[in-house]
């Protein structure tokens, strides 16, 4: 593979790829226009799983009204969506489905992790729930709450709008968010089980 680094540097690409291109008087407004269009018409994919889905629906209806941000059309097909609001707890059985739906979405796409169960496993720190949906998909905004009220979700959406407005168009994200990168000791190995329960004396088992 020929060494292209010096050519890249001369063209102004560097390590940031296209983002390193300096904008001129013509391309800068176009970028602003594209980012404006993207953030003002985000189309969420329906990914309501549990209780947070109810609050997500409440955000979409008349009282809190996501339609003023152009987002009331929840697209059932992930091909037509560009925002996935993971609303609810993701179980082990659902995690591959979540990844599949995420992969079916077209770039550019964003993920809001709504609620504590999606952000970190929430109160369900057990065998059944994925401890944070960023183990599976890269997350842009985390919205805490159990469930987050519609105001919190709207705040998360507006934060995402800010992120789109100030962000670079062509920055690529890691394939997964890699989660919390917790190093688990050997006692958390899949086949490691805790000490057997000591049978109490005096019980019916005696």
């Amino acid at each position: 593979m020929p060494d292209l680094s010096d050519i890249k540097h001369k063209l102004g690409l560097g390590d940031e790829g296209l983002a390193g291109l300096g904008h001129n008087i013509i391309t800068a407004p176009i970028e602003e226009l594209v980012k404006w269009a993207r953030r003002r018409s985000l189309m969420p994919a329906t990914f309501g799983l549990a209780c947070c889905a109810i609050e997500m629906m409440a955000t979409g209806t008349a009282h809190y009204d996501m339609a003023r941000y152009g987002m009331e059309t929840f697209r059932a097909s992930p091909r037509q969506a560009d925002l996935m609001i993971v609303a609810g707890r993701v179980s082990q059985k659902m995690a591959p489905v979540l990844r599949q739906i995420y992969d079916q979405m077209m770039e550019p796409k964003w993920v809001i992790s709504m609620g504590v169960c999606a952000s970190s496993g929430g109160m369900f720190n057990n065998y059944a729930i994925v401890q944070g949906v960023d183990q599976v998909v890269p997350v842009d905004i985390y919205a805490p709450g159990c469930p987050p009220g519609p105001e919190t979700l709207l705040h998360a959406i507006l934060a995402l709008h800010e992120k789109i407005r100030t962000g670079e168009l062509t920055q690529r994200r890691d394939v997964t968010g890699r989660g919390a990168e917790i190093e688990l000791g050997p006692e958390y190995a899949p086949d490691a089980q805790p000490e057997p329960v000591v049978i109490r004396t005096g019980g019916l088992y005696e």
């Binding site: 960023d134 688990l184 057997p196 019916l204």
Partner: protein
């Protein structure tokens, strides 16, 4: 079909339980019976459980409201009649008679060495999904079940989560680093 004991009065709304109903001597349909906070509990053996359910349907308990398992590994504190041998697993069936109306509970001791009982989905089709859940969660086998596939757990899951020797699976909570932005 044996007659219920004379001390058991049944009014149209509730089942009145007499004070003489003690834990050891009373029998109903040939199985020991106890009283738990005013609720009637029968304790058949794993072999006679299916026939008892059929008998109770004729008695009027035609709705199987709930079927679940329980794991008593290492835990001796439970109320059982003296004639009933405690085992590790229990199968609990709650029945409902909508005409009277009244409720009844059945607890079957299921040994760990042979966790198999007959299915009652032939008598109560509604028990089919409940039995699948009990077999997923505890590893109980229901002989003759029409669809013994996992219901709640993913395919290929090893272990039975509600057993006491299955760890809850919690991981240490750490705070995720937020990149400066």
């Amino acid at each position: 079909m044996s007659e219920p004991t004379a001390s058991l009065e049944e009014t149209p709304e509730t089942v009145e339980l007499s004070e003489e109903l003690n834990n050891n001597a009373e029998q109903l349909h040939g199985v020991p019976v106890t009283d738990s906070r005013g609720q009637l509990v029968l304790h058949p053996s794993a072999g006679s459980y299916h026939d008892l359910i059929e008998l109770l349907v004729e008695e009027g308990y035609d709705v199987c409201i709930d079927l679940c398992g329980a794991d008593y590994l290492g835990n001796g504190t439970r109320v059982l009649p003296a004639s009933v041998e405690p085992e590790r697993f229990e199968l609990i069936v709650n029945l409902l008679d909508v005409r009277t109306p009244r409720r009844l509970r059945i607890r079957v001791q299921v040994p760990e060495s042979e966790p198999m009982v007959a299915t009652i989905s032939g008598i109560h089709p509604g028990a089919e999904a409940m039995e699948r859940e009990a077999s997923d969660m505890f590893g109980l086998c229901f002989e003759g079940h029409p669809d013994p596939t996992p219901i709640l757990l993913p395919d290929g899951w090893e272990g039975h989560p509600l057993r006491k020797d299955f760890a809850i699976g919690s991981i240490p909570v750490q705070f995720k680093a937020v990149e400066g932005r």
